[in-house]
């Protein structure tokens, strides 16, 4: 891996969508809590006039120079550079650090997220292109503090060794199981072929997906 995963000091305090607070939330929360509150107050009353699903900018986007993204079912407003990639936005502006940067060259899969249910590499996807589309990251899987069956099975089957590749693996697995609830081992392999595991933990990853399939 060319990058290590350290918390980014410049994060403007976005909260992530997972159930419980993580180690990072607590750090970020103290820095950004006030900002979030102020932001919410300022923009709350014009929320209604913001962009609709078709991606046409609404009042809020035009006046604040922000884009409206739909991430894990929530609307997120964020100021984005034209050359910015989705993985950058998710990690450093929306606080969704579950999505990893591995290679940053479409060659490892650590950054895999779903766009409209299909897996893509968010290191290679311009944030701008996500406007009007449903983005799902690994943080969007658990509901009300309850882990998703794929997450559960990755824990039980030791699907994560160092676990750096795990969020990406889980997103590819999710896309597969949404289309094919009863995959063969070969089909699981095909679905995970765009995700590298430096620990070589492939057998456990495949088992995790097969186990999850049985439970879903």
């Amino acid at each position: 891996m060319s990058t290590t995963d350290v918390p980014d000091e410049s994060e403007p305090g976005g909260s992530d969508d997972s159930g419980g607070p993580s180690r990072r939330d607590i750090i970020k929360g103290t820095i950004g809590g006030t900002l979030v509150a102020a932001n919410a107050y300022l923009f709350n009353n014009i929320r209604q006039t913001s962009a609709q699903g078709d991606g046409t900018p609404g009042v809020r986007e035009r006046f604040s120079n922000q884009l409206k993204l739909t991430v894990n079912g929530r609307e997120r407003f964020v100021r984005v550079e034209d050359q910015e990639r989705l993985a950058e936005t998710l990690r450093s502006k929306l606080g969704l650090t579950g999505t990893k940067f591995g290679c940053d060259r479409a060659m490892c899969g650590a950054c895999t997220v779903q766009i409209e249910g299909d897996p893509i590499y968010s290191c290679t996807y311009f944030t701008k292109d996500a406007v009007g589309k449903e983005v799902t990251t690994v943080e969007g899987l658990s509901e009300g503090g309850q882990l998703h069956p794929i997450q559960e099975s990755f824990i039980e089957e030791l699907g994560g060794q160092c676990a750096f590749c795990t969020p990406g693996m889980i997103m590819s697995a999710k896309s597969l199981l949404e289309e094919n609830g009863d995959p063969t081992r070969e089909e699981v392999k095909d679905a995970l072929e765009g995700n590298l595991c430096r620990c070589g933990n492939y057998e456990n990853e495949i088992e995790s997906v097969l186990t999850a399939a049985e439970r879903m």
Partner: protein, 329 residues
Amino acid sequence: MQQDMIPPLEHIDATSVEHAVRLLGEHGSDAATIAGNTDEINWLKNRDRTPEVLVDLKPIEELKEIEETSDGGLRIGALATLSDVQNHDAVNDGYSIIADAMGEIATPQIRNQGTIGGNLTQDSRCWYYRGGFDCYRAGGNTCYAITGESSDHAVTDYSRCITAHPSDGAVALIALDAEVVVRGPRGERREPLSEFFVGPEDNITVMHDLAHDEILTHIEVPSDWRGTNFYFEKVRGRDAWDFAIGNIAAAVKTSGGTVSDLRLVANGFAPTPKRLRTAERSIRGSRLSEGNIASASENVLPNARPQSDNEYKLNLADGLVKRALSNVA
């Protein structure tokens, strides 16, 4: 930030082909065209290319359509993703070789984003050129692959640059006699896909003949080869992600037990997709017997001049022809 930031640029959504052509004309060499941007973005990250403007074709919905034409052929919008092409009914029904090739490209994530047009217009994968070396192709005055590592490179039809053409989609489409439709400031033109690619002898800096302000809009597949016997195989270092070391697409028409016509097209051996005409000639008009196949698959690249570390590709090409002719179905 620890990853490679792309320098600031303006990302403009083209609303129509005309709009894209106009933007490319206005901004000239300051602009770059993108479709799925899976290839182009790496040049931007490496800062080997620093366009000020990206002209994005993605919003042009009409270029994403795949349809069966009235005579049973296919018309594929250049902006259709590789996954869309791979999974489309009209493609799988009669032209399965295209779907087979699509399924072997890169990974699901790249297939969901990369387009078929971009697969045909992608640049050389030579590791020196991609690594920022100032070789012939990059405007310098040497070929580092000839003096260095050339195991993935071309063995035939090259001149100063020995890059091999990387596209898997191209061979399947050429085997079906596909044509490309191109639009530019002077209107529309079309040509056989086999003539779309440009070797280093004609122009060492490009891989295809699109002008800067031309857009590849469609790929058209005539119905001539619909439902005939096909074979596609790709040989690579590992089963995912890797580009082809060599690949082959075969389309074979038989009547009364003899081969009436066939196409054998391979990539990985030359700077442009290679029709294996010697092998085609030797099998056209005869039966697909073990003996005929053996003689057709001998020395299929008669003019090859390999480097010492890619001589193995001669046997590979022979082997691929043998497997293709033995397994067409």
